[in-house]
C-alpha cells in the first residue's frame, strides 16, 4: 500500500475515533466544570473544578446529596446476583445439553433458542401481570429471579464449550466413583472458566444497562438502579449538566472497568455468540 493511501485510511479511522469518543470526553470534562461555565460560547475546555481545592466536588454532590450512592449500590446488587444466576443456570443446562443423555433434549434446546428470539416487548405485559400476581412489584425479584431460571445465550455458548471438551475426562472420574454432579463440578466446570467469565461479564453489563424492566417494576426511588436514577435526576434538575455528567461517569465506570479487565474473554464471547 502506498503512503498516501495509508494516510487516508488513518485519517478515516482517527475521524471516527473522535466521533466515537467525543461524547465520553465531553462527559468527563463537564463533570469537572462549574455550573456557570457550562454554556459558554465558544465552548470552554478547562476542567476548572479539577484544579480547585475540591476536585471531586460534583461527584461528591451527586454521590451523597443526589442519592447516587444508593442507585450504585442497588445496581451492583441486582447486576451481580443476576449475573451469578446466569452463570449457574447456563452452566448446568449447557453441560446437560452437551454431555448428558436425555430423550427430547435436542427439542428442549431448540425451544430455548427459539424463544430467545421473541423480544422482551412481547413477553413484558404478561411478565408484569405475573409479577403483580406474585406480589413482586416494587422489589428487585423480577430483575433477579428470571436470570436464575433461563438464559439462551449462555446456555448456547456453554453447550458449545462443554461439547468441545473430551468425554474421557469424565469417564475416568466415573470409574473412581464420582456422581454426575461431581464430574461436572470438579472436572468440567473448572475447564470452562473463560466461558463462565464471559457469560458473567456480559450478563452483568446487560443487567446494569437494563431500562425497560426497572422502569416497569420499580416505583420507590430507594430501589432505583443507576439508569433510572440518571433519568429521574435529569427530570428534576435539567440544567445541572455538571452533576448529571458526574452521575453518568459513575454509571459508565464500572462497565469500562469490568470490560477492560476481562476483554480477552468477552470479545470471544461476543464474537462467538453473536447475539447480545
Amino acid at each position: 500500500m502506498n503512503n498516501r493511501a495509508l494516510w487516508a485510511l488513518y485519517l478515516v479511522l482517527a475521524a471516527y475515533a473522535v466521533i466515537a469518543l467525543a461524547p465520553f470526553f465531553w462527559m468527563i470534562l463537564t463533570s469537572f466544570k462549574e455550573q456557570r461555565d457550562l454554556f459558554r460560547i465558544p465552548p470552554d475546555f478547562t476542567p476548572t473544578v479539577l484544579f480547585s481545592d475540591t476536585p471531586l466536588k460534583n461527584y461528591a454532590e451527586v454521590w451523597t446529596k443526589r442519592d447516587f450512592v444508593i442507585y450504585f449500590r442497588n445496581s451492583v446488587i441486582v447486576s451481580f446476583l443476576a449475573a451469578i444466576g446466569q452463570v449457574m443456570t447456563c452452566s448446568l443446562a449447557g453441560y446437560a445439553f452437551a454431555k448428558m443423555e436425555l430423550p427430547g433434549k435436542n427439542l428442549l434446546f431448540a425451544v430455548v433458542l427459539a424463544t430467545a428470539f421473541v423480544p422482551a416487548e412481547v413477553t413484558i405485559i404478561p411478565e408484569f401481570l405475573l409479577m403483580r400476581w406474585l406480589g413482586w412489584i416494587d422489589t428487585w425479584l423480577p430483575l433477579i429471579v428470571p436470570s436464575f431460571l433461563v438464559g439462551a445465550f449462555g446456555t448456547f455458548m456453554l453447550r458449545e464449550y462443554f461439547g468441545a471438551l473430551p468425554d474421557e475426562y469424565g469417564e475416568a472420574a466415573v470409574i473412581d466413583g464420582a456422581n454426575p454432579f461431581q464430574v461436572f463440578r470438579r472436572i468440567y466446570l473448572p475447564l470452562a472458566q473463560p466461558a463462565l467469565i464471559a457469560i458473567f461479564v456480559i450478563a452483568f453489563i446487560n443487567n446494569w444497562d437494563e431500562l425497560l424492566r426497572p422502569l416497569i417494576f420499580l416505583n420507590s426511588p430507594e430501589l432505583f438502579t443507576v439508569p433510572l436514577g440518571l433519568l429521574s435526576f435529569f427530570s428534576q434538575y435539567e440544567a445541572a449538566w455538571h452533576q448529571l455528567m458526574a452521575g453518568s461517569v459513575i454509571s459508565v465506570l464500572p462497565l469500562i472497568l469490568v470490560y477492560v479487565l476481562t476483554q480477552r474473554y468477552v470479545l470471544q464471547g461476543f464474537m462467538g455468540g453473536g447475539v447480545k
Binding site: 466515537a20 460560547i41 443446562a93 448428558m100 416487548e121 413484558i124 464474537m271
Partner: protein
C-alpha cells in the same frame, strides 16, 4: 411413534435442566401464549377484562396513531440498518488491512456499545438540545444561526435517534464482521494482486463473497435490533415530538404501561412478533441465494 422411556438414570440430567425447564415454562412460553390471549381482550388494567374479538387488531390497522407507528418504525429500519451495517463494514475492512494501532481503534469503536446506554444518550440529548445544545453552539460559533430544534422538530428527531443508535451499535457489528474477515485467507488477495486486481475489485470479488455469511448474519441482527429500539428513544425523545420517534417497541411500552390499554398493547406486540417471524423466514429464503458457503 414410540414415546421415549425415562429411567432413574435420567434424573441427573433432569435435575441439571430443572431451572431451565421451569424458567422456560414460566417466563417464556406462558407469557407468549398469555400475550396472545390478551390481544383479544378489551382491558384497561383497573377494570375487568372483556372479550373483544378482533377489535384490537382492526383498531391497529385503522387508527391513524398506530399507522403512524408502523410508518415511523419502517423509516427507522430503513435508515438504521444500512447506516449501521455500512459504517461497520467500512471500519472492519479498514481495520483488517493490517494497520498499526488496530487494538486501540477497535477498543475505541466498541466502547459506545458496552457503556451505559442511558448515560451516553443523555450526553447526546445535550448535543442536540435547541438552546445551549453543543451542536447548535458549534453552529453559532462558525456563524450559522439556524438553530434547528433537533429533538423537537418532527423532521429532525427521527434522524437524531438513528444517529445515536448507529453511533452506539456500529462498533458491535464491526466486531462481528472483523471476526469474519479474519477467516479469509490472505493468499486470495496476494493472488489477485499478482493478477492486477485493484483494491475495489479485490473488495468486490473476494471480500464480499467470502464475507457474505458474516455480513448476512450482521444484517439480520441489525434488522431485528431495529425493531426493538427502546432505551435510546426513551432517554432522547420519549417518543416525541408528536409521535415522530414512536417506533413499535416504544409504542408497546407506552400503550401498556402509560395508557394501561393491555389488550391493545398485546395486539401490537403480536404485530411485532409477526414482523420478526417474517424477517426470520426472509432470512432463510435469501440466505440460500446470497450466501456463498
Amino acid at each position: 411413534m414410540k414415546l421415549p422411556r425415562y429411567t432413574r438414570a435420567h434424573l441427573w440430567p433432569l435435575a441439571f435442566l430443572a431451572p431451565t425447564i421451569v424458567g422456560l415454562l414460566v417466563f417464556r412460553l406462558l407469557p407468549i401464549f398469555w400475550s396472545f390471549g390478551l390481544s383479544f381482550a378489551d382491558w384497561q388494567i383497573f377494570d375487568a377484562p372483556s372479550f373483544a374479538g378482533l377489535d384490537n387488531y382492526v383498531g391497529l390497522f385503522t387508527s391513524p396513531t398506530t399507522l403512524k407507528v408502523f410508518r415511523v418504525s419502517a423509516l427507522f429500519t430503513l435508515l438504521y440498518v444500512p447506516g449501521a451495517v455500512g459504517l461497520a463494514l467500512a471500519l472492519a475492512v479498514i481495520l483488517n488491512s493490517g494497520l498499526k494501532g488496530m487494538a486501540f481503534f477497535r477498543g475505541a469503536f466498541f466502547l459506545p456499545y458496552i457503556t451505559s446506554v442511558v448515560a451516553v444518550t443523555l450526553v447526546w440529548r445535550w448535543i442536540f438540545a435547541t438552546r445551549f445544545g453543543l451542536l447548535n453552539n458549534a453552529l453559532d460559533w462558525i456563524g450559522i444561526e439556524a438553530n434547528p430544534a433537533w429533538l423537537a422538530d418532527p423532521g429532525f428527531a427521527l434522524p437524531a435517534v438513528v444517529i445515536v443508535s448507529v453511533w452506539r451499535d456500529a462498533g458491535f457489528y464491526m466486531l462481528l464482521l472483523l471476526a469474519g474477515l479474519q477467516t479469509i485467507n490472505d493468499e486470495y488477495y496476494e493472488a489477485a494482486k499478482v493478477d492486477g486486481a485493484n483494491a475495489w475489485q479485490r473488495f468486490r470479488k473476494i471480500t464480499v463473497p467470502l464475507l457474505s455469511r458474516s455480513l448476512f448474519f450482521v444484517l439480520i441482527v441489525a434488522l431485528i435490533k431495529s425493531t426493538q429500539t427502546f432505551e435510546i428513544t426513551y432517554a432522547l425523545t420519549e417518543g416525541g415530538p408528536n409521535g415522530a420517534t414512536t417506533t413499535l417497541a416504544f409504542a408497546i411500552y407506552h400503550r401498556a404501561f402509560i395508557d394501561f390499554e393491555m389488550g391493545q398493547a398485546a395486539a401490537l406486540s403480536y404485530v411485532l412478533c409477526v414482523v420478526l417471524g417474517l424477517l426470520t423466514l426472509l432470512n432463510f429464503h435469501f440466505r440460500r441465494r446470497w450466501v456463498h458457503e
